[in-house]
């Protein structure tokens, strides 16, 4: 079985797959790759099941040594990757020969880059998933971000090595967006008409304290509804809650399972991967869509992801 030796971990690198759904009743949120589309495509490029575990790097990538030959792919944002000093192409599979070093740098585009390896990364599953849940220190590699000197096991190779790349169509249609589409939130009518207008007409800036739990926004203060008594309730991925103080927070993959702030809107599922690519200081805004649009966009995106046209 092959390994990946972590020479430099990067700023914040964790093992992630598509997360663990089904444990909301004990307070465990799904977690998983913040940009699940990129992880799925990376796995497709190396011939894995799309839910195999890969490495999620944040803002600054790591340096990894492959003692044995491995088929790799990098997806998501451009972290200026080089294999033994030679630049490697993003979103296309490539081979690391025994002893080669893959070095990534700071991002040139969005927040996260995914490294997928044929066979997937092998860690002990927690509640059926390899995803790291940082807050509780569970899952992934010892429940934490990678450190210098870690060695990660690679699963058995799943077949012949064949290099592939993403199609232009997939690249174009799955480009991360800065205008996030949303549906009405469960408490949207608690907010005044002017508060809602302000929310939809304003540009928001992603705050530094954003992480896998939530994306904090700076910009126009949304007047918080008064009067209604909010009782804590279950919250969905992409929920946009407005706490006292009026600075919206978008819940991300390692979200709390319940919350007590009113939610003005919810990012639609096809834009979740865009949330995973938001960096501090990025500017975003919100665009309201109806339920049918959200649904047909989801069907379209999944059709594209499932099609053969994704890879060439």
């Amino acid at each position: 079985m092959g390994v990946i030796q972590v020479q430099e971990p990067g700023l914040f690198t964790t093992v992630q797959d598509l997360g663990r759904e089904g444990f909301g009743a004990i307070g465990v949120s799904a977690s998983g790759a913040a940009d699940a589309v990129s992880l799925r495509l990376g796995n497709r490029l190396v011939g894995n099941d799309e839910g195999a575990a890969g490495l999620e790097m944040t803002l600054l990538g790591g340096t990894f040594v492959f003692p044995e030959r491995a088929l790799l792919a990098l997806t998501g944002s451009d972290f200026d990757a080089a294999l033994d000093g030679k630049p490697v192409e993003l979103r296309s599979s490539f081979e690391a020969k025994a002893g080669q070093t893959l070095r990534l740098g700071p991002t040139r585009t969005g927040a996260r880059c995914y490294l997928c390896v044929q066979g997937g990364i092998r860690v002990e599953l927690f509640l059926g998933s390899a995803s790291t849940h940082i807050l509780s220190g569970l899952g992934g590699h010892e429940g934490r971000a990678l450190r210098k000197g870690d060695a990660l096991k690679i699963g058995a190779e799943s077949g012949a090595i064949h290099e592939r790349r993403l199609s232009a169509r997939a690249l174009n249609e799955l480009q991360p967006r800065k205008v996030l589409r949303v549906t009405e939130g469960p408490q949207s009518d608690w907010f005044s008409e002017s508060a809602r207008r302000l929310f939809y007409e304003s540009r928001y800036r992603v705050a530094e304290e954003s992480n896998r739990m939530g994306i904090r926004l700076e910009g126009a203060i949304v007047p918080v509804p008064s009067g209604g008594e909010m009782i804590s309730e279950g919250v969905s991925l992409g929920a946009i809650q407005v706490p006292e103080g009026g600075k919206p927070i978008i819940l991300s993959v390692e979200q709390q399972t319940t919350g007590g702030y009113p939610k003005i809107a919810n990012v639609i599922s096809v834009d979740f991967h865009s949330l995973g690519q938001l960096r501090p200081r990025d500017e975003i805004r919100f665009e309201r869509v109806d339920w049918e649009t959200a649904r047909s966009l989801l069907i379209e995106q999944e059709k594209l992801l499932a099609s053969k046209d994704v890879l060439v």
Partner: protein, 241 residues
């Protein structure tokens, strides 16, 4: 029923109400108040959905008087989920909930473990021994687990201890901290940010990957807190490490 632009609210009968939460989830509300009856309804629906899972439903997040149902939007539409849930509602009466377990949680109150105990006492004109006696004398109900893995929302706090949460939440609350907020109390399973007033700490792990069921507490459990000394805290911490 067609999809519209607006926020979607529909009556579900039996006093329940549906609220679409996102394009792949909806909330079921059993009233808009924290009541024992609403809690029982939430538990019964949760139990029925666990016993007879609906294909395409991915996750369930119970809370005081609501249940968030997350589903696969490729397999189910909101109105289909609503129709299925309506049929489940008709059977809630037949659901027998298991007898509640009584779980005792040892707590070392005050001092460095309960940095807000003094202020809570000042607010209510109590001495620490009285506040501790009040907190430890009540039997609490686990309304639900939420926020983070294993965090149990416990109620009701004795009237004389009801205290608003901190104006500015702490960035880091140590794991095991016992807090109060409004008429709720709870134990932080992990070191997380938090705005509840901390009155003590338990050496018991609230959530463990190695434990069956993972969480010490489950929805519907009964809980009592037992005061222990700092010395005993140290012993138990070592014993359970």
């Amino acid at each position: 029923m067609g999809y519209t632009f607006a926020r979607m609210v529909t009556s579900a009968g039996e006093g329940a109400r549906f609220q679409w939460a996102s394009d792949q989830s909806l909330l079921v509300y059993f009233g808009q108040k924290i009541t024992l009856q609403a809690h029982q309804q939430v538990r019964k629906l949760l139990r029925l959905l666990e016993l007879e899972p609906v294909a395409g439903v991915r996750n369930l997040h119970p809370a005081y008087c609501s249940l968030l149902v997350k589903f696969d939007g490729l397999r189910l539409r909101h109105d289909e989920v609503e129709a299925i849930l309506r049929r489940y509602f008709e059977r809630l009466e037949e659901i027998k909930l298991p007898e509640p377990r009584l779980v005792e949680i040892p707590v070392c109150y005050g001092g460095e473990f309960g940095p807000d105990l003094a202020e809570v006492c000042a607010i209510h004109g109590l001495i620490p021994a009285q506040a501790i006696e009040l907190h430890a004398s009540a039997e609490y109900l686990v309304y639900f687990l939420g926020f983070v893995p294993g965090f149990a929302y416990l109620g009701e706090l004795p009237e004389a201890l009801v205290t608003p949460r901190l104006a500015v939440p702490r960035r880091r609350v140590p794991a095991g901290s016992v807090g109060i907020a409004g008429n709720q109390t709870g134990v932080y399973p992990f070191s997380t940010p938090g705005g509840w007033r901390l009155i003590g700490r338990t050496p018991v792990a609230m959530f463990r990957a190695e434990r069956e069921g993972f969480s010490l507490l489950a929805i519907g459990d009964r809980v009592r807190f037992a005061p222990i000394s700092a010395e005993r805290f140290g012993e138990l911490e070592k014993e359970w490490a």
